[in-house]
């Protein structure tokens, strides 16, 4: 594997990006169309990148497993997108967004990347408004804002509870415009199953057309992965059912380092699990914590209805423990506090795995109409699922797996350890450290896709000048053959267990041992159980149907096979990191009052893992993290 070189430009942090943009090589406009860029993914990151690269003049091919680019998982994002506009005059600035993000990430991100993200955030809002994204407005016609966790300013822009939808439609429409113009060719219902590396450079991908089953190779001068996060390792998560790790995992096996796989975000406000058959978990947006108050009864096993419990017998534990941030404490902290309350037997609802999120005070203060305007669709969603009306009684919520901060390692140019392979959006590890702040994923996906990658990829193309290759090249043939073989293998096992039964079992191992709280003994146990389960999978899974047709069981099987490998790496990473930081909470490392205890002396680095062959332990490389601008300190939201 190539050594980790972060390529952070020199100079003061405020000037790095501008300086870098000036120093990077450019591709002559007339030459751009001679370069083909393969973009995998059509979510916020992929669609914005594909559209922008095409506008610049590159020849773009865009692949996604959905039937339309507009159905990428980004569509489901609810609450909002951050930007350091300071339209509220409440003390926000680029520097403050940078500071909040580094601190929120518990000092495990790369300062220079985060600063750039905060800088670019401002342009994102301008771009989206120009496209017609209907962000919420004040009566005077100006843009409105709300607050999200981990910030004391109001910098989140939103479109009701459907911000992701509206942002994605903006990017999708820009992409469709470019398709119409002939700059982008799209490949819907097409799944990337391998990366083609020739002479050390990423030169293409092997895909399966999920309708016909046809395996083909696509070649280009650079490959961009915007394939989203891997939270579905846990089976139950807030991610869409199809979200998966296959593209990044197979790239990892071809030489791309995987960074911080154990950093998982557990979101504090989701609808609790209601039964065995449950297929996914539903998020109740963090924005609800602007007006909702979180509490549990003070008395264990209190069977009264919530309305009957008087004020002084309720514990508003977030307000009590974190008075300066209150209900808007960051996600990792709010989730752990909920778990703690439930572990103490104070949980509410079926199985005691729930806490209340109460709007009674807000409804009294602002009126039902205002609350309906702010959160109408979320309240409706809650009522549909639970059959309970949150205008009448409080919601019951519990933490659930939501987002993965880990992902493929990338340098300042968003390039992985394989030259030519760029990774954007949730699929990479950059920017959020060990914990992501709310409304920052949409910001990062669009920063990467609209502004950063289109600038940095030119530098790669201009300086590496990839030559021509064709599909007869032995490395291309080899990759294709391997994909065909592994597909036949899955179909040929004809065992007794369904793919989902393996996935559920893996999810339970991950949740029990690598979830909200982890410890060495549990992780070691998981490291024993996962390889056993994987071995059983490869001898006893039953994938019905054939290869040459739409076969959803086969698609799922390939994804679960990858999760069974990635899950093991997540546990190894969690075991090696003997500290607690952000979403990674090791029970052995906590302060007297139960807060995460970091160890900056030993662990102020990003752990980038190198694949060393099937069933071999992976090798860890360190990218040391320096903190020149934000002083390393124990995070406090008290």
């Amino acid at each position: 594997m190539r050594p980790l070189e972060s390529r952070v430009p020199s100079g003061p942090i405020e000037q790095k990006w501008d300086k870098h943009r000036f120093e990077m090589k450019l591709v002559n406009p007339a030459n751009k169309r001679k370069y083909t860029v393969l973009v995998v993914g059509s979510g916020l990151a992929g669609a914005s990148a594909a559209a922008t690269l095409s506008e610049l003049g590159y020849n773009v091919k865009c692949f996604f497993f959905h039937d339309s680019p507009r159905r990428a998982h980004s569509i489901a994002a609810q609450g909002g997108i951050n930007a350091a506009k300071n339209y509220r005059n409440d003390g926000d600035s680029i520097y403050r967004l940078f500071y909040d993000t580094v601190k929120g990430g518990d000092f495990r991100s790369r300062e220079a990347n985060v600063y750039r993200l905060a800088q670019v955030s401002v342009e994102i809002i301008d771009q989206c408004v120009a496209q017609g994204v209907p962000f919420a407005r004040e009566y005077g016609g100006l843009l409105a804002n709300r607050s999200f966790g981990g910030a004391q300013v109001s910098r989140t822009f939103y479109a009701r509870g459907q911000t992701g939808q509206q942002l994605l439609l903006g990017a999708y429409q820009q992409l469709e415009k470019e398709i119409g113009r002939g700059g982008v060719t799209v490949y819907p219902r097409t799944e990337m199953l391998d990366l083609i590396v020739v002479d050390g450079q990423a030169r293409g991908i092997v895909t399966r057309d999920t309708v016909s089953g046809r395996i083909s190779s696509h070649l280009g001068d650079a490959v961009v992965l915007g394939t989203g996060g891997y939270g579905n390792v846990f089976y139950l998560s807030t991610n869409a059912k199809g979200s998966n790790a296959t593209a990044i995992w197979r790239a990892h096996k071809r030489g791309a380092a995987f960074a911080n796989p154990c950093y998982t975000q557990i979101h504090p406000t989701c609808i609790p699990v209601s039964g065995e058959y449950q297929s996914k978990l539903t998020l109740m947006s963090e924005s609800l914590r602007n007006d909702g108050r979180v509490w549990v009864p003070r008395q264990k096993g209190d069977q009264r209805r919530p309305e009957q419990i008087p004020e002084n017998e309720r514990d508003y534990y977030l307000e009590r423990k974190y008075p300066s941030f209150g209900n808007l404490a960051p996600r990792d902290i709010a989730s752990r506090a909920a778990k703690e309350a439930c572990d103490q037997g104070l949980g509410v609802g079926e199985g005691g795995l729930g806490v209340y999120l109460d709007f009674a005070d807000a409804i009294k203060r602002l009126g039902e109409q205002t609350i309906r305007e702010r959160y109408g669709n979320l309240f409706q969603m809650y009522q549909r699922i639970t059959d309970e009306n949150p205008f009448v009684g409080p919601m019951r919520i519990y933490p659930a797996v939501h987002y993965t901060m880990g992902g493929l390692w990338v340098d300042y140019n968003l390039m992985s350890t394989i030259p030519g392979l760029h990774v954007i959006g949730e699929a990479n590890f950059s920017d959020h450290g060990a914990n992501r702040l709310g409304a920052s994923a949409l910001m990062q996906g669009l920063a990467d896709g609209y502004f950063v990658l289109p600038a940095t990829i030119g530098d790669y193309l201009a300086s590496s000048k990839p030559g021509r290759i064709d599909t007869d090249h032995p490395d291309v043939r080899q990759a294709e053959t391997e994909v065909t073989e592994s597909t036949s293998k899955l179909l040929g096992i004809k065992g007794k267990r369904t793919v989902d039964s393996f996935h559920r079992e893996l999810g339970k191992i991950m949740w029990d041992h690598c979830g909200m709280a982890r410890n060495a003994a549990g992780l070691q146990r998981a490291l024993q159980l996962i390889p056993e389960l994987r071995a059983e999978f490869w001898s006893n899974v039953n994938v019905p149907g054939s290869h040459a047709e739409l076969n959803q069981a086969l698609e799922k099987a390939g994804r679960v096979a990858d999760f069974l490998e990635l899950g093991e790496l997540m546990c190894a990473d969690a075991l090696h990191r003997e500290e607690s930081c952000g979403g990674h909470f090791r029970e052995e490392y906590q302060t007297g009052d139960g807060e995460a205890l970091r160890n900056d002396e030993l662990f102020a680095y990003a752990a980038a893992w190198e694949y060393c062959g099937a069933n071999q332990p992976e090798r860890m490389h360190r990218e040391p993290l320096g903190f020149e601008y934000v002083q390393l300190a124990q995070r406090s939201y008290k």
Binding site: Q127, G141, Y172, F451, N551
Partner: protein, 238 residues
């Protein structure tokens, strides 16, 4: 039609979870599961698309298939499940159809030309709250295709009109307004969607409850665009 037995179904299960159970049983017996499109299971991606007892997305108003729960049915019911049926949506397999025609309608003009990097500061464009709220009501469309499936003519008018309404209400959408209406409407015909005779079934089936008022707006823009086509300058100057 094939009949499947679905045992052990609880009222809190979603409709798709019921189908998961049916499929899991089939696969346990080594049989091929029923193919259906789904992804977010939160009513926002627009993937799920089932005719349930002859009604697009089933009996609950303003609800996509994935948000429908089994409590809406009685124990022992026989439920008929079919794919969307429309000339413009060829069947791919079982309950899966091809809705690519929708993407091509957007391609024809469902956008505002704003290349990355060209935008001015967002707050220099003022838009009244009412206007943006109405635009947002239309912009909520999830492109599931229920409107087409429910329409006796198989028309895509509600889908197309919701995008035209969203963009034509906003100041940013004005320069391309009439050309957009012309091109998107023309594309509907190319894709073999039927014409709109204002049955209103689309509005009933829409999981986002988008109103057919949007169709009136579309028709107005289209008419204006056709009238001024002879005087091309007008369309361009607006």
């Amino acid at each position: 039609m094939v009949e499947y037995d679905a045992g052990d179904i609880g009222p809190d299960m979603s409709f798709l979870e019921m189908l998961d159970v049916v499929n899991e049983r089939l696969m346990e017996r080594g049989e091929v599961p029923i193919a259906f499109d789904h992804d977010c299971r939160e009513g926002i991606c627009g993937s799920c698309s089932l005719m349930i007892n002859g009604v697009a997305h089933g009996p609950e108003r303003g609800t996509a298939t994935c948000q429908l729960h089994m409590r809406s049915f009685a124990d022992g019911d026989t439920i008929s499940v079919e794919p969307w049926r429309a000339r413009a949506f060829p069947i791919v397999k079982d309950l899966v159809v091809d809705r690519g025609a929708f993407d091509r309608i957007i391609q024809a003009g469902g956008y505002i030309t704003a290349p990355t990097g060209s935008a001015r500061d967002a707050n220099t464009i003022l838009i009244s709250k009412d206007t943006v709220d109405t635009a947002m009501d239309a912009a909520q469309c999830i492109a599931c295709g229920a409107c087409v499936a429910a329409c006796p003519n198989g028309s895509a008018s509600l889908f197309t009109a919701s995008k035209i309404t969203h963009l034509s209400l906003l100041p940013q959408g004005q320069p391309e307004r009439y050309g957009r209406a012309l091109r998107m409407v023309a594309q509907m015909d190319i894709e073999h969607f039927g014409g709109c005779t204002l049955y209103g079934e689309c509005q009933e089936a829409c999981p986002k409850e988008i109103s057919i008022d949007t169709i009136t707006r579309m028709n107005r823009d289209f008419l204006r665009a056709t009238l001024s086509q002879g005087h091309g300058a007008i369309a361009r100057a607006e």
